[in-house]
């Protein structure tokens, strides 16, 4: 049984010109201890589909799916309170902007202890001890002092470590990382990716890595889903995706990598589709 299994997910938003279909019939599944990368450009619906799983989309979004199973249980049928028990505990998420996703009004210690209080019901002393333990685990120096720091007193990389500490505080079974390193420097990106992969290997949690960076995919994923305009273009294990991409879109995406440049101009995705117009996927808008 898969840890998370989504069949035929459709997410629509109402706009002034009618319903816009951001995710159009996407099916994904993740197993225990598996690393799935969802890759696509902005507007491909990669974040929206995971936000739908987390229940973090605004009420105006229309979400339908044939099935949305987490450990065999249909998330769609859960009440709000039941869902809130699951989210943040068994399914946790890390966001792109570490500085923006922490609350600037509270110390990071308060924010991590809040999770421990609500989900695990630990008392004050146990919370403090666990928070220090978690900060040490994610490689924050002076963990004890760090608890009293506010997000603005820390660098972007440190804030992302705090976010990771909060996400793994309750030993989640599934971690969703939404572009966790896009806002960070290359050297810091390496550290954060190493940290996430190390934690994943140690705890055996499932990991969904949402990214637009083919380099990050190559360094982390077991299996890859390529999305474009709300549709799944291709699903393959990481090696076959890079070695022998099947869909035209994936081929175009790999050709657009500067390191794969041949000659003095890059191949662009649109140029690729101009060559074979019938291969261009249609926009995901519905009537």
């Amino acid at each position: 049984m898969s840890l998370l299994q989504i069949d035929n997910l459709i997410v629509e938003f109402e706009t002034s010109t009618g319903w816009f279909r951001a995710v159009d019939g996407v099916s994904v599944s993740v197993d225990k201890a598996e690393v799935l990368a969802i890759v696509g450009e902005s507007g491909s619906g990669k974040s929206v589909s995971m936000l739908a799983v987390m229940g973090l989309l605004p009420a105006t979004a229309k979400i339908t799916a044939d099935r949305m199973l987490f450990e065999g249980q249909d998330i769609q049928k859960l009440s709000g309170a039941e869902r809130r028990k699951l989210i943040g505990k068994d399914i946790a998420m890390i966001f792109q902007e570490p500085v923006a996703s922490l609350n600037p009004c509270f110390t990071v210690g308060f924010q991590i202890e809040e999770v421990l209080r609500i989900h695990l019901g630990l008392d004050k002393k146990a919370r403090r001890a666990r928070a220090i333990e978690l900060f040490k685990l994610v490689g924050l120096p002076n963990a004890e002092e760090r608890l009293h720091a506010y997000p603005h007193q820390m660098s972007g990389g440190q804030c992302q470590r705090v976010m990771i500490a909060i996400a793994i505080a309750c030993d989640p079974k599934l971690l969703i990382a939404d572009e966790p390193t896009t806002a960070l420097d290359v050297t810091i990106q390496k550290q954060i990716l190493d940290l996430i992969m190390d934690l994943q290997a140690r705890t055996g949690m499932g990991l969904i890595m949402i990214t637009h960076d083919m380099g990050v995919v190559a360094e982390t994923a077991d299996r890859v889903v390529v999305q474009y305009k709300g549709r799944k273009m291709e699903e393959a294990d990481v090696l076959s995706l890079f070695e022998n991409p099947q869909s035209n879109y994936t081929k175009a995406l790999l050709a657009a990598l500067p390191e794969n440049a041949t000659g003095d101009r890059l191949t662009t995705v649109s140029a690729f589709f101009d060559g074979n117009p019938e291969a261009a996927p249609s926009a995901g808008a519905s009537a």
């Binding site: 990106q189 290997a201 190559a218 360094e219 990598l257 390191e259 995705v269």
Partner: protein
């Protein structure tokens, strides 16, 4: 000034420094932050110099000094064979026209209340006495040159995608026929496929107008593709400077080596090695 002889040196920077004073407080002395600690380089006309480094290393401060936004604390700036007098009030519009900058975030660098036509026409209105009709013609020509159309003239920035906005920012920078273009992370906010289009556009424009680029980036794969020369900055100092092939084939400084190691590798061999490593780890 005898050593500025070769006419094809577009930009020369000599031991340029920039200090910022941080305000002190009660019982706390003022501090000086050395953002750029003496950087020198020479760049030939029509070539591209890439400046690489992490955030806070002074690469954007350097860009701001080259484009006269910030005044250097000390050091010389020689553009097109002329030593620039960067003191406030001593800059002529002539000097300013030669150097233009393109910023990282095309969402922040365009005025949301200004139509694209006005964005492009404004430099002409300020610096030349062209008539409104001529300004309009020039702006429309430039729109076509950067891959947009005349129909975009009357639109507002919010009606464009990130890649299109970066094209507009490029068009605006080119309106005064500059010779030197400073690009401060011009593609890091863009998607991979759009990034390829913008990089191609920059290469086309460089060929057409014989432009000189100072290209600031933290993405080594982009740098390797676009640069002729590479400079690596670390804590305000240039720790590595050479041609692209020198730097990429034989990085000397420890930080450059760390940078290369940290860059994700997307080739099949590295993936295969990683998977094999993972299998070995799980079997053990």
């Amino acid at each position: 000034m005898s050593d500025i002889k070769t006419t094809d040196t577009m930009l020369e920077v000599r031991d340029i420094k920039r200090d910022y004073e941080l305000p002190g407080g009660f019982m706390k002395p003022k501090k000086t932050l050395h953002a750029v600690k003496g950087v020198s380089f020479k760049l030939e006309r029509g070539k591209t110099l890439a400046i690489v480094g992490e955030s806070g290393c002074g690469k954007s401060t350097l860009a701001r000094m080259i484009t006269f936004i910030d005044e250097p604390t000390s050091g010389d700036l020689i553009i097109d064979g002329k030593k620039m007098d960067t003191r406030p009030g001593h800059l002529t519009s002539d000097m300013r026209q030669k150097v233009q900058i393109i910023f990282q975030n095309p969402y922040g660098s365009l005025n949301p209340r200004q139509k694209i036509g006005d964005v492009l026409g404004e430099p002409l209105a300020i610096n030349t006495d062209l008539s409104a009709a001529e300004r309009r013609n020039r702006a429309t020509e430039m729109l076509i040159k950067v891959g947009l159309g005349p129909e975009h003239y009357n639109r507002y920035p919010h009606m464009f995608s990130g890649g299109q906005r970066q094209r507009i920012a490029i068009a605006r920078a080119l309106m005064m026929n500059p010779k030197l273009l400073v690009l401060d992370e011009p593609v890091s906010a863009l998607d991979l496929s759009v990034q390829a289009q913008v990089l191609n556009l920059l290469a086309d424009l460089q060929d057409e107008f014989n432009l000189t680029y100072v290209f600031i980036s933290h993405d080594l794969s982009v740098v390797r593709y676009i640069a002729d020369e590479v400079m690596v900055m670390y804590f305000g100092e240039a720790v590595e400077y050479g041609t692209r092939d020198e730097v990429f084939s034989n990085p000397k400084h420890e930080y450059t080596q760390t940078l290369f190691k940290a860059t994700p590798k997307a080739d099949v061999e590295s993936i295969r090695a990683r998977i094999a490593e993972k299998k070995a780890a799980s079997a053990a």
